[in-house]
Amino acid sequence: MNLLAPQEIADALQAAAGAGFVSARCTEWAEGIKGRKSRQVWLKIAREALIQTLQRLVEIHYPHVSVIAFCDTGAQVELVYHFHIYWGVPREEILVTLTVALDKTDLKVPTITGIIPGALTSEREKQEMLGIEVVGIPDGRRLFLPEDFPQGVFPWRKDETGIPADMVKDLWATGRENLKFQDNPPPPASNPVNPV
């Protein structure tokens, strides 16, 4: 296998992203006495360039999708796609991270399960936890959240759609008023209602 250097991978993906390219950086980190370096490539791209960039990555080496991470930055929700390439070659694996920022007014992203079916778990989780819509997802049901979890509440968002304070202390009772233990004494009035 002809292995590309991190900068070459960044350049190839930048070319594939075309107008959707935002920024790229390569990082290294070494641990242990021999100080062997492990390497990472970080790219920021537009949503429109996600599929074509990923297809270019598949041409380099079929990636293992680790997870889609996230960050709520206020006006935007960032999806952080983590891929590994060159696994199976000792000490040569490279982490490729594609960050896609979505405006909260238009939280849609195309599915990548057509290219890597293993991304399904992570895409289902992002839909329910962040309130984004993965366009074309083969199975759009909830994954970790129960069926009776309220609609329109997205646990990982940090705005008004996040977990409200009154859901924090008695999560189990949300939406099941009839199941509350009526005989229990109410909590002391001085007890602050604070989600933190």
Binding site: K34, V67, C71, E78, W87
Partner: protein, 416 residues
């Protein structure tokens, strides 16, 4: 078999208490079956979702470290190493080499204990309870060793951001070596029980197959991937802690048998080989243990102040017993808490592999196939079967009985 009418297959309408009797955590399977054969598999995890990431994004990094350790009761050090490594990369904290070695030693001991636990569970699911007791008896030895080294059987609290909190001193080396000898002997015994037994072979060979191509596309990790011939191991691919200094190779089943079939039997082989490999790695680590400090920044207040000034994003990875664990962390200057924290546990990646493994298998094979990926959040305590428009709920005990009966049938036919 009890037939229960369930109108809505919601996990929350069936009662699985927080302290239910099963060994593992809950996941609900919905299986479409024809006769004894499984046609379609669906599963619903999430009954044990505790919103840990939500909690973590409201605490400072040192608090998150201990919260991370409590994500899993079996691989506690896995999550704290991963989180600490991510934060160290953001804040550019150079961990002393001695700490890297101690991290790796505890990580390998944890792998031995987790794989022995799994071997016991697998034996139990097959109906070999003597082997189950034997594997767990061996596991006690490594738990005692972990308690001797760290103070705790689980949740060792060894990791601090920038190093480790406790030393391993030369006085302790003979005790460690004694245990390593014990595990070498234990490996021989377990290999005889699991690999040379005809019944185990008949139950596990070509059962729950995950092919190389399926594994490549569904992206499982750890022994589940390696048993299908995927050479993927964070310790080798993307070395961290002391692993870059060690002699270490991928443990795929062909190391022992010369072929890869990707079935349950191969997953047993892979895990047993890894127990042996961990013994070798601990010995290498002890012999190479360098001198030096344990912590880059010994004072927690100084560390917190430094982390408050740090900004950036990084990924911390660790090869847990079940496969890669990954923590994505993003810090902002002036904030105590991480603005983003995503935990990817190993079973998260392995779930999807159940579908090709189970389709075409028999109901009695569900327990061993489900257990064969060593699910961390899993339990076959309730399985719903859709058979000719009626919905039945199998309890864990019922399933276990079916599995044991199949083993007994095979043994009886062998005796003839």
């Amino acid at each position: 078999m009890k037939t229960i009418e369930v109108k809505k297959p919601s996990a929350y309408t069936t009662q699985i208490g927080p302290a239910h009797p099963a060994l593992k955590e809950p996941v609900m399977f919905t299986l479409d079956i024809e006769g004894e054969q499984i046609k379609k598999v669906d599963f619903v995890p999430g009954m044990a979702h505790r919103g840990i990431e939500w909690m973590g994004m409201r605490r400072n990094c040192i608090q998150v470290l201990y919260l991370a350790e409590r994500i899993c009761g079996i691989c506690g050090i896995t999550h704290s190493i991963s989180f600490a490594r991510a934060v160290e990369q953001i804040a550019q904290i150079q961990v002393p080499n001695r700490a890297h070695y101690i991290r790796a030693i505890v990580g390998e001991l944890e792998r031995i204990h987790s794989h022995l636990l799994w071997a016991g569970v697998a034996a139990h699911e097959l109906g070999f309870d003597s082997a189950f007791y034997m594997a767990w008896r061996c596991r006690e030895n490594v738990l005692d060793l972990l308690e001797y080294l760290t103070g705790n059987r689980i949740h060792y609290a060894m990791i601090q951001i920038g190093g480790v909190r406790r030393d391993i001193v030369p006085d302790q080396f003979p005790h460690i070596e004694e245990s390593m000898k014990f595990f070498e002997e234990a490996y021989d015994k377990l290999a005889a029980v699991f690999l040379d037994d005809t019944t185990v072979q008949m139950r596990c060979r070509d059962c729950g197959v995950l092919t190389y191509d399926e594994a490549r596309q569904l992206c499982p990790v750890g022994p589940t991937a390696r048993a299908s011939g995927i050479k993927k191991d964070v310790r080798i691919d993307h070395p961290y802690a002391a692993y870059a200094d060690l002699e270490i190779d991928y443990m795929t089943p062909d190391v022992l048998t010369g072929e890869v079939r990707g079935d349950v039997y191969d997953r047993i082989i892979t895990r047993l080989l890894e127990v042996k490999q961990s013994v070798d790695l601990v010995r290498q680590l002890i012999s190479m243990l360098p001198d030096g400090p344990l912590l880059a920044i010994p004072k927690p207040a100084v560390l917190l102040a430094k982390l408050k000034g740090a900004a950036g994003e990084a990924v911390g990875r660790h090869e847990a017993p079940r496969g890669e664990v990954m923590h994505y962390v993003r810090l902002e200057a002036g904030k105590d808490e991480p603005v983003a924290w995503k935990v990817k546990a190993s079973s998260y990646s392995n779930y999807l592999s159940w579908i090709p493994m189970m389709e075409g298998a028999q109901i009695a094979d569900i327990p061993i196939i489900a257990a064969s990926i060593d699910p961390c959040i899993s339990c076959t305590d309730r399985v719903a079967l859709v058979r000719q428009d009626t919905r039945e709920v199998l309890t864990k005990e019922e399933l276990h009985r079916l599995s044991v009966e199949k083993t007994r049938r095979i043994q009886a036919s062998l005796a003839k």
